[in-house]
């Protein structure tokens, strides 16, 4: 097999000075399925930008070493010469899809190549058939599910017929169903003879699809070999999280163990309609003080809609919600925030202050509380002491998530709800979050974690409520996964 791409002692620093790669050497051979993994900020996405000439042509910065693509140095080729050979699918599917329909999306790259209209139509049909997305061609990108968006993004590059396809975190924010859909498509593409470079931090179960694995850490390659041999280093580097074992107090509590007076939250026959659709149907459950609950279900099952009812963001069509015996229906979220704290999936939605410490203080000011020493405790628990004067926007993904949760916990709510806390987080960060939640649970805080990460749910909850199509289909102790 001949070499497609050769990377020789590549060193790169972004404009502003951040050194992302510190001497990287590897060769990609034709037909390979290469899995590049590493923690957040390790430099794995930078490798993707290196292979198709975005570095140095687009990002600027300081680049040393060389990247040879099919015998030509990327320094001497413009991106418009490289993109027909090396295709890159970006992590953010919303940015990747910038046309008004999926077929226009596929046509854009082909129009850039200057193909005749007839050839463009043929390529669109051929690619759509290969990825089974013929039914999506007329749909606008904002009407696609997460998994469909990813596949449309892949199709928009694949129809250009590059020899090498690079995918930057294609599994990010997808549920199991979405991941399986994308994974199946990738296997199909690889079987057609294309070279694939898959850049991911989620290694759970998908490493086996690859023929070779590279582990990147702080801008250097620390492993390059068969995926089967990578397990040990992935565990030692924290890319496969090692969750703490739950303590015996976490046996599944039932009404026989808890008295009614210990009910913190009671949801009774809740119904919700959104845009003419029944999103929640007859939801009833009680949460007892000190319980750690995981709310599970695939994307669109109603998890987020349900938790938005618990702090007044949404009002139900029918049903009752009581918190500590007090009815929450009709109350504004600002009146409930001090009792029920919710941290949503994207930490960037929360930040608007210049410094981390101001973010932490914001919630406290809003609920007009002053808990002596509480902020110090939170900073210690979330390991934020060294970050207090930093800008929240400049933190790593893991640090951002910790600041976002800490700023909610600063209001000292009796119930803490986390929506998809593991989305975009690497193994180390997930491990740390699990430890924090375990500590909070031991201190008696009631928590609800809405997630589709079953391993995380098993690590942080002793009760699972499973939603499917807006209904509770299971409520009990964690079921065995595997």
């Amino acid at each position: 097999m001949g070499a497609c791409i050769q990377v020789n002692n590549a060193q790169y620093a972004y404009p502003g000075g951040r050194q992302a790669l510190k001497g990287v050497d590897f060769t990609i051979t034709k037909g390979e399925f290469l899995f590049v993994c590493g923690a957040n900020g390790s430099g794995k996405s930078t490798i993707g930008y290196l292979l198709n000439g975005l570095i140095p042509h687009f990002f600027g910065g300081s680049f040393k070493g060389s990247v040879i693509v099919f015998g030509s140095d990327t320094r001497k080729m413009s991106i418009s010469k490289l993109f027909p050979h090396v295709g890159l699918v970006l992590q953010n599917a919303d940015a990747q899809l910038f046309n008004s329909s999926v077929e226009d999306e596929l046509a854009f790259g082909l129009e850039s190549l200057g193909l005749a209209p007839k050839h463009i139509e043929d390529r669109i049909v051929e690619t759509a058939k290969m990825l089974d997305i013929e039914h999506l061609l007329k749909r606008p990108p904002d009407k696609l599910s997460g998994g469909e968006k990813r596949i449309a993004g892949i199709a928009s590059i694949l129809c250009i017929k590059p020899s090498v396809l690079i995918l930057d975190e294609p599994y990010a924010n997808l549920d199991q169903q979405g991941i399986s859909k994308v994974s199946r498509s990738l296997k199909k593409i690889h079987a057609s003879g294309l070279t694939i470079v898959l850049i991911e931090q989620r290694v759970d179960g998908y490493l086996k699809d690859a023929s070779r694995c590279i582990v990147v850490e702080q801008g250097k390659i620390i492993f390059d070999g068969k995926p089967g041999n990578a397990q040990k280093i992935l565990v030692s580097q924290g890319l496969i999280p090692k969750y703490p074992k739950r303590t015996p107090k976490n046996d599944f509590p039932t009404r026989t163990l808890y008295r009614n007076s210990e009910i913190l939250l009671s949801v009774n026959q809740l119904y919700c309609d959104l845009n003419g659709k029944n999103i929640l149907k007859n939801i009833s459950f009680d949460i007892f003080k000190g319980q750690s609950v995981a709310l599970l279900g695939k994307n669109g099952s109603g998890k987020t809609t349900l938790i938005k009812h618990l702090n007044g963001l949404y009002q139900p069509k029918q049903g009752k919600i009581n918190f500590n015996g007090q009815c929450l229906i009709g109350k504004d979220p600002s009146q409930i925030a001090a009792m029920v704290g919710i941290s949503f999936q994207n930490p960037n939605d929360q930040f608007f202050q210049n410094r981390v410490e101001d973010e932490l203080n914001t919630g406290l000011r809003m609920v007009r509380k002053d808990y002596q020493g509480w902020l110090e405790q939170i900073c210690h628990l979330f390991q934020l002491q060294g970050l207090l004067r930093s800008s929240p926007f400049k933190l790593s993904e893991g640090e951002k998530k910790r600041v976002a949760i800490a700023s909610i916990l600063a209001m000292k709510p009796q119930l803490l709800i986390l929506d998809e806390p593991t989305a975009g987080q690497d193994g180390r960060s997930k491990q740390m979050l699990a430890k924090i939640l375990e500590k909070l649970s031991q201190e008696g805080l009631t928590t609800i974690v809405a997630t589709h990460d079953l391993e995380f749910a098993q690590a942080v909850a002793n009760r699972w409520i499973i939603l499917d199509q807006g209904k509770i289909v299971k409520d009990g102790p964690p079921v065995s996964i595997g």
Partner: protein, 222 residues
Amino acid sequence: MKPIDPRTKLLLGAAIIAGVLAAKSPVSLFSQLTLILSAIFLLKKAKPFFHVLKMVVPMIFFVFIISWLSFDSYNALMLSIRLFNLLISSFLIFQYIPPEELAGGLRKMKIPFGFVFLLTTAVRFVPLMQNKIRCIREAQMSRGIDLRLKVKNTKNFMALLGPLLVQSFILADELAVAMEVRGYGCKNRSFRKDYRLAFLDYAVMIVSVAILTIFIHWETGL
């Protein structure tokens, strides 16, 4: 039959808007209102129309109050009806010009590709930005920040604006990368759809310009 060319649709739309702006007498304004509303219901666009109405009505109400205070009730009513006609006729026109057709039409009218691309991309990102605003609003309200429309909450809206600006810049950067990796800068760009004017297009253009000319003459005496 070949569908109408986007350029014809754009000219037809421009003629309708010019007609609405030229209307002065109450008879013309009310006739136009009846015609546009009938067209909306006959063309089965009632559902999206009611959705748009939710945004249009407060705006019209606001204009009515301001013009009533500035002029008198008659002028305020005429001004509000003209604005209403303008907004709902624009709504109806754009129901029949999807973004890709608009882009194709403008391109054929020799508008630079960069500008046309900017316009269609902006349309594509409207629902995405709406969703972002909703997510940020909900995240901030969950922190106890009161974002209800009250004077005392004015300062709190920084919590909405800050993350929105930061995320818009991030999205713009990522969009630039996405465009680049699909050859946005290529010199020899071709286009999947080629638009050609046919007999029907010329007929529609001539008739619409003729009707507009007669209407303006009748309305203003010019």
